[in-house]
């Protein structure tokens, strides 16, 4: 199949970028989107051009490294799928494809389609963990957790931190990400001790990074490759208000 790509090119953080157009000829419909970009980059390199930079790692949809806003949708047109798991058969021969980086002041573009997502790491470092200071490994199943609660925690924990929620949000808000990280521990007994401090600190860091506020449009839920529900945002909101109004101890 033959495609026309409009790709965002940007030399570095400080230099303003612009779109450049590439012809992608003889692309196999069985290629993944990233393989297609590999081919286009190799051809550009063979012609003496600078290849296009984009993030990727596992290429099996679990690491959260790949990104790209493809024709206006983070991770492209297929629901619940990362860019690396998107295949070219989802496109038609002759399609024009616009490829942009995540757009958020908290995710500055480092080069071409690569953005700096370390803001997520800093939010995570504020409370996305359980502190266990000492002691041996606890016995398995020593603490009973209902199936329902375990499932809610696991669904939230399936967040891979790719940042598609920020990219899709009209306010570049990271509330789905923070909500997932907060909800994950909220449903587990081990998460209770630090519950209030966790939500206060993580939301505070979210704000400090310059992400926007949630307007409840639910675009994040629609593009999330792991189908995280906006219920995690409601849970985070409830916990934040309780912690902010009532006190810092759970």
């Amino acid at each position: 199949m033959n495609l026309t790509l409009k790709i965002w090119r940007q030399k570095d953080k400080a230099t303003p970028g612009k779109f450049e157009t590439y012809d992608a000829k003889d692309i196999s419909p069985d290629m993944s989107f990233l393989e297609m970009l590999d081919v286009v980059s190799e051809r550009a390199q063979a012609n003496g051009q600078e290849p296009c930079a984009f993030d990727h790692d596992c290429r099996e949809g679990i690491c959260g490294m790949c990104s790209l806003v493809i024709n206006g949708v983070p991770h492209g047109p297929e629901a619940a799928t990362t860019t690396c798991q998107l295949h070219m058969r989802k496109f038609k021969d002759g399609d024009n494809i616009v490829i942009e980086p995540w757009r958020a002041s908290a995710f500055p573009v480092l080069r071409d389609l690569v953005v700096d997502r370390s803001a997520f790491d800093r939010i995570q470092q504020k409370g996305g963990f359980v502190s266990i200071n000492t002691g041996g490994t606890p016995d398995g199943n020593a603490i009973p957790i209902s199936k329902k609660e375990a499932d809610l925690a696991m669904d939230a924990a399936s967040c891979i931190g790719c940042g598609a929620c920020v990219a899709a949000c009209k306010n570049a808000s990271a509330m789905l990400f923070v909500g997932a990280k907060v909800s994950q521990y909220m449903h587990l007994p081990q998460g209770q001790a630090e519950r209030s401090r966790r939500v206060l600190a993580m939301v505070e860091q979210h704000d400090a990074e310059g992400f926007g506020a949630c307007s409840n449009l639910q675009e994040c839920e629609a593009v999330c490759p792991k189908e995280i529900s906006v219920r995690v945002i409601a849970e985070m909101n409830r916990d934040y208000l309780r912690a902010a109004l009532v006190g810092t101890d759970a």
Binding site: C214, T248, D249
Partner: protein, 243 residues
């Protein structure tokens, strides 16, 4: 994280700074003030529906409201304060949101967002303008009062002479421009609330997985009901059902 034992309780200053300074606090203030204003809107709509009962009922009701004295002013002050809080938090959040995405997408596709949710700023701004006009029109009698001077006072059954606000409403809405203007105003209020009702409950963390799908339907339905209840009065005057 700090040691739990040494963690002091937050104190009122910290509570205020968190509610005022964080995205979630600002959104919560917007949601609470919005819900209070929605509650007022439903009461206001119920009051206006008494136009269908007749001049005696409506003028009695209006006179009752006017004779509340201090309570009336307390409610007015409260409404202004709530509106101010709602707008203040909306402006704060909007400014933050704009700064969060300095470069727009060349290509942007909506998947889940409703029309109401995408137009909150515009619908809210127009509704504010509409409310301003509405107060200047029926409360302060500053604008749109053509024909009001010819309306004599109304004599209630108990003999009390009161302002004939029923007649003022009829005279106003017999002007198609005013009637259509008011219907448009309440339509935009309905659009605003089609997102606002469910969004405020989500912001306050009230919605869980069981309630959310229900409120996603109930929110727009309540907004539609409010619109219909408000719009039916000018419409009934315009087509001559209320004379």
């Amino acid at each position: 994280m700090e040691d739990a034992v040494s963690q002091p309780s937050p104190g009122i200053g910290k509570v205020i700074s968190r509610m005022h300074g964080s995205t979630l606090g600002q959104k919560a203030l917007m949601a609470v003030s919005g819900i209070a204003l929605i509650a007022f809107s439903f009461g206001h709509m119920a009051g206006h529906l008494q136009m269908f009962v007749g001049a005696e009922q409506y003028n009695t009701y209006a006179h009752f409201l006017q004779s509340m004295g201090g309570i009336k002013w307390a409610i007015r002050f409260g409404l202004v304060a709530l509106t101010f809080l709602h707008i203040f938090s909306a402006v704060q959040v909007s400014m933050r949101n704009r700064a969060a995405r300095p470069i727009a997408y060349a290509n942007n596709k909506w998947i889940a967002a409703s029309l109401g949710s995408k137009t909150m700023r515009a619908s809210g701004g127009i509704v504010l303008f509409f409310i301003g006009y509405h107060i200047l029109h029926f409360t302060t009698l500053t604008v749109g009062t053509a024909g009001f001077e010819k309306i004599p006072e109304y004599k209630l059954i108990n003999g009390l002479m009161v302002d004939d606000v029923y007649r003022r409403m009829v005279v106003s809405f017999q002007n198609p421009l005013l009637a259509i203007g008011y219907i448009t105003g309440v339509a935009l209020l309905g659009l605003h609330l089609s997102h606002g009702i469910q969004s405020s409950l989500q912001t306050l963390g009230v919605l869980n997985s069981a309630y959310r799908p229900f409120f996603k339907k109930l929110g727009p339905a309540l907004a539609g009901f409010l619109f219909a209840g408000f719009a039916i009065v000018p419409l009934a005057v315009l087509v001559g059902i209320i004379k």
